[in-house]
């Protein structure tokens, strides 16, 4: 009597399995669940809150989970004036975020220091952190923040995340394949 063996093709899983590139799968997951670290430092934070509220509803882009712990965040939204007194605290919080991590400089102050050409204000958070998206405005409207978030999603979608983050494993897989 012939032994019953599971076949590679199983009609039960048909339609439940998709084939894709690992990068594409990672990027799709990452860009649609960006958990923000709300770094609210000034009036931009009010617009950030408005973006999260029902009229603009940042949840439509999967970024509604504001985490007040940097250890659970993907994107830091620097919303407001970064003073020199606060600057290294912002950097420390950024360093506590797990990779991959992104930074949105929201508004004129976070991008360039804005109207504060002053002894007390850091002239743009990009002097300390790698900024992915700058948003103009003083403060930007919630639509502008959402547009910035979509720009960041576009950027994440084009990333070679797996190859970039696991170079040795990628090389081994390629060796096996060829």
């Amino acid at each position: 009597m012939a032994e019953q063996r599971a076949t590679a093709y199983d009609s039960k899983v048909e339609g439940n399995v998709i084939f894709t590139r690992l990068d594409a799968a990672f990027n799709w997951v990452r860009k649609n669940s960006l958990w923000p670290m709300p770094m609210g430092l000034a009036c931009c934070a009010i617009e950030l809150m408005a973006t999260a509220a029902s009229r603009f509803d940042i949840a439509r882009f999967g970024a509604e989970v504001m985490r007040f712990s940097p250890r659970q965040c993907d994107v830091m939204i620097v919303a407001g004036t970064v003073t020199y007194k606060m600057a290294l605290a912002v950097k420390r919080i950024y360093e506590q975020m797990p990779e991959p991590k992104y930074v949105i400089a929201m508004g004129a102050c976070a991008s360039t220091g804005g109207m504060y050409r002053s002894y007390a204000v850091l002239q743009g958070i990009d002097q300390l952190l790698p900024v992915d998206v700058y948003i103009s405005g003083c403060p930007p409207r919630p639509e502008a923040l959402l547009a910035g978030l979509m720009k960041l999603q576009e950027k994440i979608d084009g990333e070679k995340s797996f190859a970039a983050q696991k170079p040795e494993l990628t090389k081994r897989l390629l060796d096996v394949a060829t």
Binding site: A87, L88, R117, Y119, A120, Q127
Partner: protein, 190 residues
């Protein structure tokens, strides 16, 4: 006693301690000596019902002697009277604290120390309040440049000079539109 009567009687009460009296748009300003400050402050607080210290500010008259001026804004809640006390002090002098007479003076005096570098004798906790401990400058002094000076406190804070790009851009008195009144970049020949 009404507020008018109080203000009228102040001159007699203070007597020889008054250096000068100024009236401007219904506001009374008395100039006193810094050595008389505590005596005058106690008189105002306990005998004349000036129970509210609105603010303390300081002025840097760089080049003049004495250099600094300190202004106390007093208000009487019971009589609705405003009174301003002014005194002058030199760069190396200290002022007596009034933080035991009006507790709110504690932070006001810390701010003046932080921004101007004026020390208050008898203050319980004279630390910087806006800038961090170890910041080497007093930013509101006249010799401090608007764009700031570089400084470094490892693991605490750093500062750099801000690019002014031909500024600071001050509003010109005119009826022109804002674009011409307040240029955001000045042509290099000006």
């Amino acid at each position: 006693m009404t507020g008018k009567e109080l203000l009228d009687s102040l001159g007699k009460l203070f007597g020889a301690k008054l250096q000068a009296t100024t009236e401007f748009r219904g506001e009374t300003t008395y100039t006193i000596l810094s050595s008389d400050l505590r005596e005058v402050a106690k008189l105002c607080r306990y005998d004349l019902s000036f129970d509210y210290l609105i603010d303390i500010t300081s002025i840097d008259n760089a080049g003049e002697e004495p250099r600094f001026e300190i202004v106390y804004e007093l208000y009487s809640m019971t009589l609705a009277v405003h009174l301003r006390l002014k005194l002058k002090i030199g760069e190396d002098e200290t002022v007596d604290t009034v933080s035991d007479i009006w507790p709110t003076a504690n932070w006001h005096e810390r701010e003046i120390y932080d921004m101007m570098g004026i020390k208050f004798k008898g203050h319980p906790d004279l630390r910087r309040i806006l800038m961090w401990d170890g910041y080497p400058f007093f930013p509101l002094r006249k010799e401090f440049p608007l764009e700031g000076l570089p400084s470094e406190m490892p693991d605490v804070a750093f500062t750099k000079s801000a690019p002014l790009e031909g500024g600071p851009f001050v509003t010109q008195p005119s009826t022109a539109i804002a674009k011409f009144r307040e240029p955001r970049a000045r042509p290099p020949e000006l």
